[in-house]
């Protein structure tokens, strides 16, 4: 089902369950992402999407199952180690450092990553408006600009796998359009992208494959072109 040829997928999640105390947020799911592939996870609030990304980046309380990245089992690895291996997260709600400048926020992304890949200048080419505001404090930026910084910060870590958690949340449609225009460009660089979204149209439009999550389980998986919208809606809402 992967779009990449014979070699193993970049990310392979096998029977993964994610727990917060006793609560099971993700229930024994299987999922893969290939290099240069865009995979969407869609689902309503509370479906377990963010928990899945947190587990991959190493911030879940407790998990069962396996997360295999680039051939390696990530069990027991800390987030700094995982990021240094080439997985970067654009967290839900941006989560910038409010009192630091745009440039400082971005540079932190570079410091924790593989210290290769994109340079600060190239990120400013992606987001020209940030270049003008590079010395401003992050808290002074608009929502859309902050999201750009969050995305730029993740890209500067030179990831092989990019995790995007609800990047459209709280932003005007025009801004979201701009952000999503970048996704294919990022894919072009061979980076695998796992996008979590509530906006079905948006994410299916850009995805190679998708999974639909409902109450922690995968209810549907396939390619956007091959699945009708009605079927997707059914599985989104669990009808």
């Amino acid at each position: 089902m992967t779009s990449t040829p014979s070699h193993a997928p970049l990310l392979s999640v096998e029977r993964l369950s994610v727990f917060y105390d006793q609560f099971r947020a993700v229930d024994a799911i299987d999922l893969t992402v290939g290099a240069g592939e865009i995979v969407s996870i869609i689902g309503a609030n509370g479906a377990g999407k963010s928990s899945l990304l947190k587990a991959i980046i190493g911030q879940a309380d407790r998990i069962e199952g396996t997360i295999r990245y680039d051939g390696e089992d990530l069990a027991g690895r800390t987030t700094p180690q995982i990021v240094a291996k080439g997985i970067a997260l654009v967290p839900e709600g941006r989560r910038l450092f409010a009192s630091l400048s745009v440039e400082e926020n971005l540079h932190l992304g570079w410091e924790v990553g593989r210290r290769n890949g994109l340079s600060l200048d190239e990120v400013f080419d992606f987001f020209p408006v940030l270049r003008e505001r590079r010395r401003q404090k992050a808290r002074e930026l608009s929502g859309g600009q902050q999201q750009m910084v969050a995305l730029g910060r993740a890209l500067l870590a030179d990831p092989k796998l990019l995790l995007c958690d609800e990047i459209s949340l709280g932003l005007a449609p025009l801004i979201v359009d701009q952000l999503y225009k970048l996704i294919p460009a990022i894919k072009q660089r061979g980076i695998g992208i796992l996008i979590v979204e509530q906006d079905i149209t948006r994410s299916l439009a850009v995805a190679d494959r998708f999974y639909c999550l409902l109450e922690g389980k995968v209810t549907l998986a396939g390619r956007p072109g091959e699945t009708s919208r009605d079927v997707v809606m059914q599985h989104y809402f669990g009808l």
Binding site: I57, P80, V83, L89, P91, R95, S99, L100, E111
Partner: protein
């Protein structure tokens, strides 16, 4: 008369430099890690006693002893944070107050058991008595002046460290939002510990100056804590230059109070603190 008052004010300002030295470390831990270390003063006194041992038992000159001790204070601060304080940092107020309070009691009593209760002073040589006579009744001690200038230099250096270096950016990031820092891949526990190591170094520097300019004994810690606390709160939480200003205010208040009566020195400092605090609770330069 005016000359005498001016002299008192100047002595107060210089005294404020010493207080700022005590306070700068507290200001960092308050601003960065957002907790008040109740053992702050006691740890400074601990270093002073270590310096005392190095200078009196081993006969080392104070400057050399300090140079030896500073890396140890960095390591001490790092380990204290990493092993003990990190475990209570995210928890309730009660936990942090109690752990640092317990630490304060332990340090005071361990010092008393080791060194006895006598007050001590490290001989500083000629610099202690050297005075610059400016005329008009104004005399400036060379040691207080050196301390004051060191305080300014230290605040300047820390300010640059925090705002102009990569390490400083990392420290400020973790301080802003430790959860975000974790998500993004920063090693927050390590970064906090480095910050505490820096606090340890400031404690080492202030211990050296304190040991040579004022009497100290195992129970001197709390009074240093209170003065540091007042300087930090008056200056505005999170502002290093504010802490310097706060220290000066307390120093001047104490200096003028001491003119009435030796017993009024401390009380005057506290009363001025309360008055300024009530007028401007957020401090002079709040962040």
């Amino acid at each position: 008369m005016a000359g005498a008052l001016a002299n008192q004010i100047i002595q107060g300002i210089l005294l404020g430099g010493l207080y700022a030295l005590f306070a700068v470390g507290l200001s960092l831990s308050v601003g960065i890690m957002r907790f008040v270390n109740i053992a702050h003063g006691d740890l400074i006194v601990l270093v002073s006693f270590v310096l005392l041992s190095l200078t009196s038992k081993l006969g080392l000159p104070l400057v050399l002893a300090t140079a030896i001790v500073l890396p140890i204070t960095f390591g001490g601060g790092y380990l204290l944070q990493r092993l003990l304080l990190q475990r209570v940092l995210g928890q309730s107020v009660l936990a942090i107050v109690l752990v640092t309070f317990g630490l304060s009691v332990i340090v005071q009593n361990a010092l008393q058991g080791t060194y006895g209760a006598d007050t001590r002073l490290i001989p500083g040589g000629d610099i202690v008595t050297a005075t610059i006579h400016l005329g008009g009744g104004i005399n400036i001690g060379v040691l207080p002046l050196t301390i004051f200038m060191s305080a300014v230099a230290l605040v300047f250096a820390l300010d640059r460290l925090l705002y102009r270096t990569r390490l400083g950016a990392r420290i400020r990031a973790v301080s802003d939002n430790v959860a975000s820092a974790n998500l993004v891949g920063l090693k927050s526990a390590h970064i906090y510990a480095v910050a505490m190591g820096i606090v340890g170094v400031t404690m080492g520097i202030s211990a050296a100056f304190m040991a040579v300019s004022t009497n100290f004994d195992p129970t001197s810690g709390p009074s240093r804590l209170l003065v540091a606390f007042e300087a930090v709160v008056l200056g505005g939480l999170g502002s290093l230059w504010g802490t310097l200003a706060g220290g000066i205010i307390v120093g001047v208040a104490q200096s003028i109070g001491a003119q009435f009566d030796a017993g009024w020195q401390l009380l005057a400092g506290h009363l001025v603190f309360l008055a300024v605090f009530l007028l401007r609770p957020q401090g002079l330069f709040p962040k």
